[in-house]
């Protein structure tokens, strides 16, 4: 009741403020009148009576001020008046206001942008039920315990059936398949990424479909395999969000399947590209398969800790090693929380980014503090006057604080706008390719709250310091002295701020410099093929027409026979493409070039003693067409490359790269030697050529051994896992000019040979190779931009300090000039301070960098964290820029006219 009453009274007071003020005025007036009237009655003259009455009142304004502050809710009113006053002050100093707001906006904007990324990737909870109870069960060789390898089918069932620690255990494996919405469309078009899951997988994550159901009948693999669950995205894109999609008949890789469910938006399991889920097919026969294709996830039972579960897995790994020595000897199991599995790659770079922007904000705040201090000292007179008129110190501090809050608010709004613009630019670069969960990056309520908290924190930081220095001052000397000569008490504080800014900026710039150095080295690290005017695209032949199943082999793999037409069609397409005008040469490969080797195989030289380490390192295996090396621009060092005459009927041949040649036949000529390749039904092959080394990716520093075989000589009898790659051919087309306009004619050339197959995955090799660096470049651009902001802010800070110093000492410099000081003496006077501060900052910065750049270790490529060249270049550049920032105002000091300077007063 009392509170309500007060609240109402506060509201009344604010609403009728003018009337209340008038009322107070009248009341005090009537007090003076009555006091004066009493005095007159006692015989004083009216004028003297008035004077005495005024003395009795003790000053109208101070009394009014005391009444105002005594009222409840006075602070609201006061704050509001302070804000209005602040606005007026800012309008009177637009350069100051704009500088502060821009500085803050950059600092707050950078933090908001970085946090929106960190929030989406690292902070946002995973879209599962109790995600902290979900773990991934990785298998890792004992000598590489952090490796994240999958489980064999046997391993998976062992974890699922024998562990006590888990409530649910499920597994998944990645597949690619074309989804045809129209059941009559057998070909299906471009394949999309999907996952095969075991029926116990969904309960691990505890997410229900928005439509239909998950798989429930994995125990009947025959029917489960024909059921399909759609991702929200695929449902929207290919099925138009059709609510009646459940039960619809579609084709998955040409096979009929029924849609049974649609998952909620944003649902994914480790792979954001996943567009659909099907149930795993397995049977007793495939149990012994050695391939580690399965990613196993599990939900901990309530009350079971990670440590307990891990202990159980350690025991299980020991048992598995005894039971299945072929696949499990020397393998351990390690559990990883699903959150870590999502974020381990992104965590370090993102935390680094957030750290960098936090430092940028500190630099920005230091600048604002510097500006506010400079401004506070020019306002000394104003404050002194207000104190003399009855303002308390607290009152002045509050007023300064209100101005800071005002600045922070404007800075916050501008910063969020900047972050919004920055985020749009960032998202336009498609960060999903390198950042997990990047599609969820938005400026949502959480991020905006962060922006407000950051602004509030910085306004406290830069608002309190200057207020504190102001409040220490006593009024009288300040009123007397308008411009001082030296002796500014907070000058040291500003100096310390500038030194720290230089130091922090130097650390950031050196870090950015090291990363830039890395990417320059990376981009110079060409893979060894010539990507200009080279176009790549894929053609996929339909499974049903080209493959005949032949049962299963002893290892449990499905076996099959490819039709001889596969090679014929592929080589006809190659011929037809070569005839397109403008095409210089055409090649085809089962494995796209300049990508990580898809198949790793062991190779041994016949009649050659096995080297000790041989067989330990797998060798990249590439089935390719004739003209492959010519088209890619890879030099044939010895012998020849494949020709059309290399067929199943002719001698079985192979080409090795220089690294493999050196390894198998050190110092000898490999041509004519024989090798065996550990591939299904592969015959011994004769080496007919040696080619130059090519990097698999641009991040690879050393060359890996590669072996090439003619795709026309691939054995027709094969095993299940190879069917899809064998039917997907990457064509490489070298043209004399920009190949982009030729895509139409290339497309029709392919359809002339094989009508039903569209071409897809069209890529300029130049772009594709740039893409590998793109994630790096994007990250670096962001980091570099932030470091650049830090540098600019620092330079502004240095400039501001020196310019302010010159401004304050105008009179002094004028006197010195008048007394005959030389140009260099004046310059020295003005520059000395800046020079000392910058030197201190640089020294601290270099020392700091030496200490902290180690955290960049994993992000650098080919550069040591203490690379002297980077350190030197960056330090010299920053020093030069900072000195220039000193020099500009110093020049102005030289231009000071002594007479004018002395007349300033």
């Amino acid at each position: 009741m009392k509170l309500l009453h007060r609240l109402a009274s506060v509201v009344r007071w604010i609403a009728h403020r003018n009337k209340a003020e008038q009322d107070l005025d009248d009341e005090l007036q009537s007090f003076v009148d009555m006091a004066a009237a009493d005095q007159i009655r006692d015989g004083t003259t009216p004028a003297e009576a008035r004077r005495r009455a005024m003395i009795q009142l003790g000053g109208v304004e101070p009394t009014k001020e005391r009444v105002r502050t005594a009222r409840h809710g006075a602070w609201i009113d006061e704050f509001w008046r302070d804000v209005l006053h602040g606005l007026r002050q800012l309008r009177r100093a637009p350069v100051f206001a704009v500088t502060v707001v821009v500085t803050l906006a950059l600092g707050i904007g950078a933090n908001t942008l970085a946090f929106s990324i960190v929030h989406a990737v690292l902070v946002r909870e995973l879209p599962y039920r109790n995600p902290d109870r979900i773990v991934l069960v990785w298998f890792s060789p004992s000598d590489e315990p952090d490796e994240r390898a999958g489980a064999t089918l046997q391993n998976y069932f062992a974890v699922r059936d024998r562990s006590q620690a888990f409530e649910f255990v499920g597994s998944t494996s990645s597949i690619q398949a074309s989804i045809a919405v129209d059941p009559d469309d057998v070909a299906g078009g471009e394949p999309v990424a999907g996952q095969r899951v075991h029926a116990t997988f969904p309960p691990v994550f505890g997410v229900q479909p928005v439509l239909g159901t998950w798989f429930t009948d994995a125990d009947d693999p025959a029917t489960a395999a024909r059921k399909l669950v759609l991702s929200h995205r695929l449902w929207q894109q290919r099925f138009g969000g059709d609510p009646t999609v459940i039960g619809r008949l579609v084709r998955v890789d040409g096979q009929e399947a029924t849609v049974i469910g649609v998952m909620p938006e944003g649902f994914e399991i480790l792979n954001g590209e996943t567009q659909f889920w099907t149930a795993s097919r397995w049977s007793e026969a495939t149990m012994a398969s050695p391939s580690r294709m399965l990613v196993v996830a599990a939900r901990l039972k309530p009350g079971v800790t990670m440590q307990q579960a891990q202990a159980e897995m350690n025991v299980l790994a020991g048992n598995l090693a005894r039971e299945f020595p072929q696949t499990n000897k020397g393998w351990g199991i390690h559990l990883e929380p699903v959150y870590d599995a999502y974020t381990w790659r992104a965590r370090r770079p993102l935390l680094l980014l957030q750290g960098v922007v936090a430092l940028v904000l500190l630099i920005a705040c230091a600048n604002v503090i510097g500006l506010l201090l400079a401004r506070a000292s020019t306002r000394q007179q104003e404050f002194a006057m207000r104190m003399a008129l009855g303002s308390s110190r607290g009152r002045l501090v509050r007023q300064l604080f209100a101005e800071s809050v005002l600045l922070a608010c404007i800075g916050c709004v501008c910063g969020v706008a900047l972050a919004f613009a920055g985020l749009r630019a960032f998202m336009a670069q498609n960060p999903m390719t390198w950042l997990p969960r990047a599609d969820g990056i938005t400026l949502d309520a959480g991020v905006l709250t962060f922006a407000v908290v950051v602004s509030a924190a910085s306004s406290i930081l830069f608002g309190l310091l200057p207020s504190w220095t102001v409040s220490r001052r006593t009024p009288t000397p300040a009123i007397k002295r308008t411009t001082g000569v030296g002796g500014v008490p907070h000058h040291q504080l500003r100096g310390a701020l500038v030194s720290s800014q230089v130091a922090v900026a130097l650390v950031l710039l050196i870090a950015a410099g090291l990363l830039v150095n890395s990417i320059v080295r990376l981009s110079l690290n060409r893979p060894g093929i010539d990507p200009t005017n080279l176009l790549a695209f894929q053609v996929r032949l339909p499974l049903g027409e080209m493959v005949t199943p032949t049962g299963r082999d002893a290892g449990g793999f499905f076996t099959m026979k490819f039709s001889p037409r596969v090679s014929q069609i592929f080589s006809q397409i190659q011929e037809r493409l070569s005839a397109v005008p403008g095409v210089q040469s055409v090649a085809a490969s089962v494995v796209a070039p300049a990508t990580p080797a898809q198949f790793q195989i062991s190779v041994s030289a016949i009649g050659q003693p096995q080297a000790a380490d041989q067989g330990s390192e797998p060798i990249g295996w590439f089935p390719v067409s004739p003209d492959y090396f010519r088209t890619l621009g890879v030099a044939v060092v010895r012998g020849r490359e494949f020709t059309k005459s290399d067929s199943l009927a002719s001698t079985q041949v192979a080409v090795v790269n220089e690294t493999l040649a050196r390894r198998l036949w050190p110092g000898e000529d490999p041509i004519g030697r024989e090798i065996t390749i550990d591939f299904v039904n592969d015959p011994p092959r004769q080496v007919v050529g040696v080619v130059a080394d090519v990097r698999e990716t641009s991040r690879q520093r050393d060359f890996a051994p590669h072996v090439f075989v003619p795709d026309a000589q691939l054995p027709l009898a094969s095993r299940g896992w190879f069917q899809s790659p064998r039917l997907t051919m990457t064509y490489l087309v070298r043209t004399s000019t920009d190949p982009q306009p030729l895509v139409g004619s290339l497309r029709s050339a392919v359809s002339e040979v094989y009508r039903s197959q569209p071409i897809y995955g069209i890529k300029m090799m130049e772009d594709a190779m740039a893409e590998q660096l793109a994630s790096w470049e994007q990250y670096l651009m962001l980091l570099g931009a932030f470091a650049a902001i830090a540098a600019v802010l620092t330079i502004v800070g240095v400039y501001g300090l020196v310019a302010y110093g010159v401004g304050r000492r105008t009179q002094e410099i004028g006197i010195r000039r008048a007394l005959g000081a030389s140009t260099s003496a004046v310059l020295r006077l003005v520059l000395r301070q800046g020079f000392i501060l910058i030197s201190i900052g640089l020294a601290v910065g270099v020392t700091g960098s030496l200490a902290v750049t180690r955290i960049l270790q994993g992000l650098l490529w080919g550069v040591s964290p203490t690379d002297p060249l980077t350190f030197a270049l960056v330090t010299v550049s920053l020093a030069a820029a900072a000195l220039l920032a000193c020099y500009v105002p110093a020049r102005r000091a030289l231009g000071i006219n002594p007479i004018a300077a002395l007349r300033v007063e």
């Binding site: 009392k2 009453h5 007060r6 009274s9 506060v10 007071w13 009322d23 107070l24 009248d26 009341e27 005090l28 009537s30 007090f31 009148d33 009555m34 006091a35 009237a37 009493d38 009795q56 009142l57 003790g58 000053g59 101070p62 009394t63 005391r66 009444v67 502050t69 005594a70 009222r71 409840h72």
Partner: protein, 108 residues
């Protein structure tokens, strides 16, 4: 004679007491206070008015503009029922406190 400071927290009590007799304006309250305290207390308007405003805001007093006995317009304060209750409470508390202080001083 040297003036005394108004003891901490007693200004409200004295204002309420004075206003309990009849409604009064600010100047009148300060005069009455001086007279009743035999000129020991001279309350400064800089303390009086903030107290009046706060008491009004708390609903203990009600203010209205009226014409004074010698024909001037003045703002008169009068006690509200809540003000009366506050006065009784504070007086009772003050009596106890002063009795306690006196007992200590005389008993020691």
């Amino acid at each position: 004679m040297e003036k005394l400071d108004v003891p901490q927290g007693t200004l409200d009590l004295m204002i309420l007491t004075i206003l309990a007799r009849e409604p009064m304006h600010g100047y009148g309250i300060s005069q009455r206070l001086a007279v009743l305290s035999h000129d020991h207390f001279h309350v400064n308007p800089g303390s009086l008015f903030p107290s009046l405003y706060r008491l009004e805001q708390d609903g203990k007093l009600k203010a209205e503009w009226r014409t004074s006995e010698n024909n001037r317009r003045a703002k008169y304060y009068r006690l509200t029922p809540a003000g009366k209750r506050q006065l009784e409470q504070q007086r009772e508390r003050w009596n106890r406190a002063s009795f306690a202080v006196t007992s200590v001083l005389e008993g020691a």
